[in-house]
């Protein structure tokens, strides 16, 4: 059922009043401008009948509000994944940049479901935003951007796409780091949990890991590579169950996202297994719980906060004409904890 978003003029006409009067009443200033109660009521009734909704953009333009030094930045947000930590980083980055650069940022969040970004992307090319940040695009989603071109800057979070800016983690390296770590620990068999062909970042990590593992003679059985495209505690639990219910398990496990780790630990416990004794675990991410779980979890830390801040900062620089499209790298680093201690 289509709403009739009527305009002030329509209300005014059908009441035989002027738009000025209607506007004043609708802004709650009827009394102070001394519009008669009777007229006020008529206006309100008619507005309700027409289901009047003010055009916010017309209002803003007229009042000049939010037009000075203001960038309208859209954050395209994949609701399918668990990007919650990133959101916290984004809100903080916004406050920081507003302060630092003396600007105003209007942060518009555009939710999309994995693979369906094309349904929302028309918004990018319709003069709505100053610039765009994209979080968590799947294979389909990135494909869409490759095939289209936009006239405002679009910056990706940890995805390389020709012609676009991005801030990326060297995920291939993150994969290699884990394999090298396992090698130094004397680990000869290893598995991967959370593989997702639709996720470019995770895929790079896998590749980096697998190539390096091969080079270092770490054996990776097929049944030790478990996919998981949900990235949450429950999915981590069932993924790990799948591996452990099969005949064997590896000495070392590389978990693609720290958001699943509690589920992994649970599954191990229910199978009577302990980390690091039975399986050494290396996670990916910098969630603070990794430092408090039992065992504490070794992780390849990605600087989430820095990542998001770099995205926003880059976008603003581009908008200010200070930089052109580019790629910024943030480096992952190893944090040793109980689940797979430092080799030294």
């Amino acid at each position: 059922m289509k709403k009739d978003n009527s305009k002030i003029k329509q209300i005014a006409d059908s009441l035989g009043l002027s738009v000025a009067t209607v506007s004043v009443v609708l802004n709650g200033r009827g009394d102070s401008v001394r519009i008669s109660k009777k007229t006020q009521k008529k206006v309100w009734d008619e507005a309700k009948k027409f289901n009047y909704t003010p055009n916010i953009y017309a209002r803003r333009l007229r009042t000049g509000v939010g037009s000075d030094n203001t960038y309208v930045i859209a954050a395209f947000w994949n609701v399918t994944y668990y990007l919650n930590e990133m959101f916290a980083a984004l809100t903080r980055a916004v406050m920081e940049q507003e302060e630092e650069k003396g600007i105003n940022i209007e942060l518009v969040v555009v939710p999309y479901t994995s693979g369906m970004i094309s349904e929302e992307a028309y918004k990018i090319s319709s003069n709505r935003y100053s610039g765009v940040l994209v979080f968590g695009p799947s294979g389909n989603d990135t494909e869409f951007f490759k095939e289209n071109e936009f006239n405002i800057p679009v910056i990706f979070c940890n995805r390389r796409i020709d012609g676009y800016s991005s801030v990326i983690i060297d995920d291939f390296l993150a994969g290699e780091m884990c394999a090298m770590h396992f090698h130094e620990r004397g680990i000869k068999t290893a598995g991967l949990l959370g593989v997702d062909p639709d996720n470019a970042a995770a895929t790079h990590r896998c590749q980096g890991f697998l190539e390096k593992a091969k080079e270092l003679d770490i054996s990776v059985k097929k049944s030790w590579i478990v996919s998981d495209n949900s990235r949450n505690t429950s999915s981590g639990y069932s993924s790990m169950n799948r591996m452990l219910d099969s005949s064997s398990y590896p000495e070392g496990l590389y978990v693609m996202y720290d958001t699943v780790i509690v589920g992994v630990l649970r599954s191990m416990k229910e199978h009577g297994l302990k980390s690091p004794d039975d399986i050494e675990i290396v996670s990916y991410g910098d969630n603070v719980v990794l430092h408090y779980l039992t065992p504490t979890i070794t992780t390849i830390r990605v600087p989430t906060t820095q990542l998001v801040l770099s995205m926003l900062s880059l976008l603003i620089s581009v908008l200010e004409g200070k930089k052109t499209a580019t790629i910024i790298k943030e480096d992952p680093s190893m944090v040793y904890r109980e689940s797979s201690p430092s080799p030294q």
Copy 2:
């Protein structure tokens, strides 16, 4: 350093061109409209020199984009707390309501730091938004709203404030529920972790708990009431340390937020204590990890998803004139797990 957000007219004048030409060039349509390369370059150079930033609202108004059936909804977001789960719920609620009601929602996130909402709140009264949702206001913040009045609907998440709409959890009841549960478990001594006088919801829970505990002869020592206004894993860890480092500890512990629980468990472990054997734990919230930790954590579940959905749905109803300001209640419920099993 104030930016000079110059206008198209200025560029046009200083170049001796028309606004039309400048507009076309700046929109990247210079070639298709056959503006000479030379002129295009002049325009771009001048725009850069003037640091031209288009007024997004003027553009939207003119192009009519995003004006049909669109509500601009601001979510005031306290970045000090850990409301990440809520954000996921909010993005999903937005998609749901757009679908269900056949409307468009532009979700604007306005970050604020605890106690400082007044610095951002002027935005509410300046015609920027259709309506406002407020998440995580502290005592100061709610005080501010009590003292001011706004001409657009403002809806609070789990805070009662005279004259405003809200969707609330019966936190007093949630407190009582825990005390009653402990009583049925035969627990005679209990503590509270995560008390925060600045947080109305947590305070109600404490009150409900303490009153019921008194009634049921559960003793609550002062040193067992530990405050924590940070609500994260680290703060939970240090809060619990504070309690356990003192002379004694209670049989039952009510933890005000599930976001601290991993820290609490860690502290107990380091003190050689186990749940439920040494201390029975009841949490508050519905984070999925509670179901996978060791031990699994008994909790008073609040329907976060429903809570946020109700807020948004209520706001839209008010905007559509279908409802007036009101208060909606969502009920907490007990979920029994290992850390404090069902009494039966």
